[in-house]
């Protein structure tokens, strides 16, 4: 597999920000993941490694260190429920239960219809608007049951 032409052009520009190639790795992985439906396949890791003059295992080592990178396919939509202290104190477990109930996914799993993957994540920096989840990269804060129903009900 090779990187899409548009991504390569984007990365050529990205490389000008840094004195070495490797430093572009994490921003590039974000873009690769975004363009691949939210996960990074071994083939894409190899292709990016080749582009950045790295070995595939170096890329794999970085991918698996960072929680935002996923190495397996996920549902069409990703719900990351924060379960750290400030959210836990204001009902994060109830939020998780409600999200699982509405989507049919178990924590860490994907709904049978493949529409939603639900994950628990550590502090997202929305502590003063807890509880919260992040849906496809967008923060939703001060959640209650009604608000969760409204948000997830509006997802296509």
């Amino acid at each position: 597999m090779v990187l899409k032409e548009a991504l390569v052009r984007e990365f050529d520009e990205l490389l000008t920000h840094y004195p070495d190639k490797r430093s572009a790795l994490i921003p590039a992985l974000h873009r690769v993941q975004e363009e691949n439906g939210g996960w990074i396949s071994p083939e894409l890791m190899e292709a990016l490694a080749q582009y950045l003059d790295l070995s595939a295992v170096e890329v794999f080592g970085v991918v698996t260190f960072y929680p935002m990178f996923r190495i397996r396919p996920r549902g069409k939509h990703l719900v990351n429920v924060c379960h750290n202290i400030s959210c836990d104190l204001r009902g994060a477990q109830d939020v998780l239960a409600k999200v699982c109930d509405l989507t049919g996914a178990t924590p860490g799993g994907t709904s049978p219809d493949g529409r939603f993957t639900v994950a628990t994540v550590e502090c997202q920096g929305a502590c003063t608007a807890a509880p919260m989840f992040e849906l496809d990269g967008v923060f939703h804060e001060n959640l209650d049951d009604q608000k969760i129903e409204q948000i997830l009900g509006g997802v296509r």
């Binding site: 080592g61 929680p67 202290i85 860490g108 502090c123 502590c127 003063t128 807890a130």
Partner: protein
Amino acid sequence: MSRPTYLLDRIGPDSHTLAAYQKRGGYAALRTALKGKTPAEVVDVVKASGLRGRGGAGFPTGMKWSFMPDPAKDKRPRYLAINADESEPGTCKDRVLMERDPHGVIEGVLLACYAIRATTAYIYVRGEYRLSYDRLQAALDEARAAGLLGRKIQGSDFSCDIWMHKGAGAYICGEETGLMESLEGKRGHPRPKPPFPAMFGLWGQPTTVNNVETVFNVPFILERGADWFRSMGTKASSGNLLVGVSGHVNKPGVYEVPFGVSCLELVDGYAGGVWKGRKLKAWFPGGSSTGMLPGSAIDVPMEHDAIKNAGSMLGTAALIALDERACTVRAMEVVARFYDHESCGQCSQCREGTQWLSQIFHRIESGRGRMEDIEMLATLSKSMAPGKTICALSDAAAIPTLAVVKHFKDELEQHVLEQRCPLADPHAAKRPAALAHSH
């Protein structure tokens, strides 16, 4: 009592745009400095102001800048890295500045670069802060188009580039050397110090790492003077700071206060008191890595030394309140799980210790605790800290553990004696079992 404010004053509906920023006098401090001040003079003003870093350690900013080598003797390229990897649980103050006042951040970055004679800066934003990233990137584009960024800024001899760099969810990258490793495209493994970043930083070159709120203060200091800055706060900690108040309060929020304001006033005044008419049982003064204090000890000034004397740390000034029905063991179960998840794994004390702490708190909270577990929490923590590992993540797990054993030992014992959580939410049984690590 009304107190002077400045940090959040500009915030409004369109405050993230260059037009709004310039209407409020934005980039005047940069223009003045480029015309009339040498980099050394900028460092001197910041030194005189007493500005201390807002990222948790409280190190004097001017002094940190002066650690950069003399450019006449050391010709290597030099860098500024902005730590916008805000990840300490309870902390969400830099996000407010980046989302609502990104040009204020950029002006601070440019002035810091000028002071340390760096021509390249990287803003390392945690990957989850998408809006912060987008707003800063849009502001950088505006600044570049207006000649405020790039070659020969505003017709001066000062050239500077600022690049956005996105993290990917690892707490350890908020540690300055972990951040540098991550920026270099590696796993975020902190480096042993020395060598310090000023001598061996990004790509081995002289580097300063500053927090977002720290550099955000700099344009104000240059515009209004060191004496004005020192007129707020305390003798040892001048200026205002942003405090996040979260947890069991009526009005959680990010509030601007002078150093030294009482934490009692933060909870009862700014944050509208403990919710549901309850009493305060416990509180973290500065994020989850600072030791919990009992509610009875809330009337303490929010300031480095006072909180230290009270037995904890100011940290990132992120106050997390627990009401009288909250369980401190449950709180520590969550906190310990977090540090277990975030340990980078380099040092055995931390890699093993955080895992053990997490397992022990989980065991006690779920009604399977043993009396010797409580002693084990303490002895284990003492083997993890202080200063036994490359970075302070191990300490960050050990410190709140020692605090709960000290202040809430009776609650730990009650859990063991009753073989259950005496404060457990009766609804908890129907909840799904959350995965500690979902990838």
